[in-house]
Amino acid sequence: MLEVKKLDFTYPGAAQPAISGLGFEVREGEVFGLLGPSGAGKSTTQGVLIGLLEGWRGSVEAMGRPLSQWGADYYEHVGVSFEMPNHFLKLTARENLDYFRSLYASETFRAEEVLEQVGLANSVDVRVSEFSKGMKNRLTFARSFLHRPKLWFLDEPTAGLDPVNARNIRNIVRQRQAEGTTVVLTTHNMQLADDLCDRVGFIVDGQLRVVEAPEVLKRRYGRRAVRVTTETATGAQDHEFSLAGLADNSEFLATLRQTVRSIHSEETTLEDVFIQVTGTRLT
């Protein structure tokens, strides 16, 4: 669906490239996450892939055609949800979406349909200038899949949303993926990436350090162990056991016969893996 090779981009006047030697592939129907801290090069990479930035070097092929050979028809197949909301403020939510619907040759969702999906059914005819930031963000997200894009770019789609709406957004992404949409997710939210992505790429200082499935990374970098905390006369005591042969581990079984306060697997988080791989915190 998307193939990127040796991608370099330097902003005009900048001494250092924003991204350098980037290479990765996004498979059809998967959710691919580009993860990294602010300023790592995620948005620049997305800027190139959605055709907003010019002057890059390398090779980018989207939907079987070099990016440079696509014209305005590229956007018939591509949807983009920006991190910052961008709407006609004097128009209502419905008018905004109807305007964008009118631009596409392909079949689109009705404005009311997508607004209901993102929880804005009661604000269809409210001017966007009266929306809160979270509502504007949801409208941005809704607009990005109006035309049922094959390739969908999401930049921090849950930023600024409450947990209920964030979960709703995740569900919509899963639903679109189930219907065949390929998703490129740009985020520094590791929990979101872990939840949604089939594969992730860690990007730091404009370079891609690793591309792998979150589960594989967590297995590779995590400790395969379980921690049992038991009650003692003076407080609590932690015991750690390897997952290998756990069922036959007599010491583990004996510990379970004590008063157990908690049992936790020592599986690592994607954020811990990121720190181990890149030596950088996600700030």
Binding site: D73, F82, N86, L89, L91, Y99, S102, L103, Y104
Partner: protein
């Protein structure tokens, strides 16, 4: 989507935005109001000035009509759409349109072309309403057509040099003031008045004055005006493109 379908959608959106903003509606109607004021006010003022002070205003009718026909229509419609372009930049709507079948290039071409198309009707209308100091129909229409370039220049000037609406009002005053500077040429002898040619609107004013006096060389000034105003428009467009791409 065809270019025509995309344009229709953009026009409908513009109409909705302008109709929901009283200030923009007022600015758009201002050129007509001024033209009406000139038609009915200036001849009366001329009589008063002649009777009470012995000042003859009639030789300056072409100066007044050139400003109304070539600057007011183009300038006002250009500034109104400049406000919309600035708003699209401020609210990052340009970014959203850039990743739609409209694309940035198409949107900017539309945004610059629309005020010029509107000025195509507004310029001769303002001249007709003002009704004083007019050249013959041929040069009037020809100069009204070349005068539409100022509409695109005004749109891009406002959206490029202002970062927000507050600054936009200052830029609006600057555009209005600067466009009046070449009128001073009317009071300067040749060739000194050609210094005003540094301001591209001068050449069109000059063509208007020559044509209104029945001169045959008006078209030379019109051609110079067309060239200088086109160069200025292209330069402004490049500046705006660089500004937007720098921001993205």
């Amino acid at each position: 989507m065809t270019w025509l379908e995309i344009t229709r959608g953009l026009v409908v959106t513009d109409v909705k935005q302008i109709s929901r903003d009283r200030f923009l509606g007022f600015v758009l109607g201002y050129s007509i109001v001024l033209a009406v004021a000139v038609r009915f006010g200036v001849p009366r003022l001329a009589v008063v000035l002649m009777d009470q002070y012995g000042i003859d205003l009639v030789p300056y009718y072409s100066l007044i009509s050139s400003f109304v026909a070539l600057t007011m229509g183009s300038g006002m419609v250009g500034l109104v759409l400049g406000f919309l372009l600035l708003e699209a930049r401020e609210t990052r709507v340009i970014e959203a349109l850039s990743v739609s079948p409209v694309t940035f290039e198409r949107f900017l071409s539309y945004r610059v072309a629309l005020p010029m198309v509107l000025a195509l009707g507004l310029n001769p209308l303002c001249a007709w309403i003002a009704g004083i100091g007019l050249p013959a129909l041929g040069p009037l229409l020809a100069l009204s057509v070349v005068g539409v370039l100022f509409a695109g220049i005004a749109t891009l000037t406002l959206a490029t040099f202002a970062d927000n609406k507050i600054q936009a009002f200052a830029v609006m005053k600057l555009v209005s003031g600067t466009s009046m500077v070449p009128l001073a040429a009317k009071f300067m002898p040749e060739p000194a008045q050609y210094l005003c040619g540094l301001f591209p609107p001068y050449w069109l004013f000059k063509a208007w004055w020559v044509a209104a006096d029945g001169g045959a060389t008006w078209w030379i000034y019109a051609v110079v005006g067309a060239i200088t105003n086109t160069l200025l428009l292209k330069w402004m467009k490049r500046r705006f493109e660089r500004l937007v791409h720098k921001g993205s």
